[in-house]
């Protein structure tokens, strides 16, 4: 997988697909066009990540980190008719703190954030999401969809906030913190899979079902 090294603090992207490796801790990225940005383990290096989406621009942010150990803030400002789709998947090996703030600065904006986290061994999550829709805006769509799969006894916290000042917006949020579904495990065992293989399959599927085939192929190449 070809990567771009992010060492500057302020950059602009207008390219289609960027596989980024972050060296800088604090980075501002200006999105000019249609951009797909993929980040793997270097997400651990990020402390503050700012995205500014120009009008009519779009950002699909795919993050997959199977050794998650971070304390990160992500701030996203969305301009008129822009689109943000965030697919963030983490397997936590340590405590992971994540604060995400999105602000919809206009109309006809699409803002869809999905987070999947697996807490195992010593890992757990403390996630806060603030999605803001400003007053006097219209036809905006916001979704916060956060799921944590708890494979250890650690405490996980998720706080999804929606700060909506407009009366013309579609806003949804979904949060679950759960362990593996027993009925699903039984179903897989009834086909002949051992308990461990069934757990491994379901755990892998929990995170990887977040991504499209392009990113999954990217992941395979990167291994």
């Amino acid at each position: 997988m070809n990567k771009i090294l992010i060492e500057n603090d302020n950059i602009s992207f207008d390219k289609k697909i960027i596989n980024a490796e972050f060296k800088s801790k604090d980075v501002t990225i200006n999105i000019k066009n249609e951009v797909v940005l993929n980040i793997l383990e270097s997400f651990n290096n990020i402390q503050n990540l700012y995205f500014n989406l120009d009008s009519h621009s779009s950002l699909k942010l795919n993050v997959y980190n199977n050794k998650a150990d971070f304390n990160t803030n992500i701030i996203i400002n969305l301009g008129n008719k822009s689109s943000f789709i965030g697919n963030l998947g983490f397997i936590a090996t340590k405590k992971c703190l994540l604060n995400i703030k999105t602000t919809m600065n206009g109309n006809n904006i699409q803002n869809i954030l999905k987070v999947r986290g697996i807490s195992q061994q010593e890992g757990n999550f403390d996630i806060k999401v603030d999605g803001e829709v400003l007053a006097h805006t219209f036809d905006n769509e916001m979704t916060e969809d956060i799921k944590i799969l708890n494979l250890n006894e650690k405490l996980n916290k998720v706080l999804p906030n929606m700060l909506v000042s407009s009366s013309e917006v579609k806003a949804n949020h979904y949060v679950t913190i759960s362990s593996l579904n027993e009925d699903e495990l039984f179903y897989l065992k009834s086909k002949g899979l051992t308990l461990q293989k069934a757990k491994d399959l379901m755990t892998k599927g929990f995170i990887l079902s977040l991504y499209d085939n392009d990113f999954l192929n990217n992941l395979k190449e990167g291994r």
Partner: protein
């Protein structure tokens, strides 16, 4: 092949099966019928060792081996297959991944990928389901009929020798019903498995003619007979097997 002796099963502190006995010989088709809520589906779950059901008394023998304490996955490897009434969705797990792992668990060998995919495609064509199902998450975004066909895909790939059909007709339209039952009939003719049919619908018997029909009530079998029992049930219902509140045992 299957022998259930004096089985008493409890779930949520409630006795569902009470001194239940059933014997099915190898290659036979046995039907189990009865009113709603008498425990027919419980038998399906107990045969696969569902942890929600506890055996309080009695034994289950499969091919002369006592299997009360045998794990679910090991029973599947022994050849027991449950075609679920309402198959659940497994997000993020594809049919292909699951079947490949199940087959390699069964044989303890790596699966020949080319042969595996060739066989999958051939079965999809036979069942008239899109080959896209192979790489779809299990039962995700599938109608009731498609889920049943998906279960059949699993059946043909795993080739069990004891099949439990839990209300196989449930959720099927007329056309899907025919396709599913024809496929089961074809499997029976090809591999001669033992089949336990749990059903309310005697139309299933047009495709899979049972050697015995058993009626379940009060947690155990109250009446057994041959295919002619199906006509009595259709015309007179299950109530005909009760006199003034007492159940007839014949």
């Amino acid at each position: 092949m299957l022998k259930i002796e004096n089985l008493t099963v409890v779930a949520n502190k409630k006795t569902i099966l009470d001194n239940f006995n059933l014997t099915i010989n190898k290659g036979e088709i046995c039907a189990l019928m009865g009113p709603n809520g008498v425990g027919k589906s419980t038998i399906c779950k107990v045969l696969l060792n569902d942890p929600n059901y506890q055996i309080k008394k009695g034994n289950i023998y499969y091919n002369d081996t006592l299997i009360n304490k045998v794990k679910t996955e090991d029973r599947a490897k022994m050849g027991i297959f449950l075609l679920n009434q309402t198959p659940i969705t497994i997000p993020g797990v594809t049919n292909s991944e699951m079947l490949r792992l199940a087959l390699s668990s069964k044989t303890n060998e790596a699966v020949d990928i080319l042969k595996f995919h060739k066989e999958l495609k051939s079965i999809c064509e036979k069942l008239d389901i899109p080959t896209a199902f192979i790489h779809r998450n299990i039962n995700e975004d599938m109608s009731g009929g498609e889920r049943k066909k998906n279960e059949l895909l699993h059946l043909w790939m795993l080739k069990p020798n004891f099949i439990i059909l839990d209300e196989v007709d449930s959720g099927l339209d007329v056309d899907s019903f025919k396709i599913v039952l024809k496929s089961l009939k074809e499997y029976y003719q090809k591999y001669n498995p033992t089949i336990l049919i749990i059903t309310h619908n005697t139309k299933v018997f047009k495709y899979l003619k049972p050697h015995t029909i058993n009626i379940l009530s009060d947690g155990h079998i109250i009446k057994s007979g041959d295919i002619s029992l199906a006509k009595v049930i259709d015309e007179e219902g299950y109530e005909t097997f009760k006199i003034k509140g007492k159940t007839i045992y014949e």
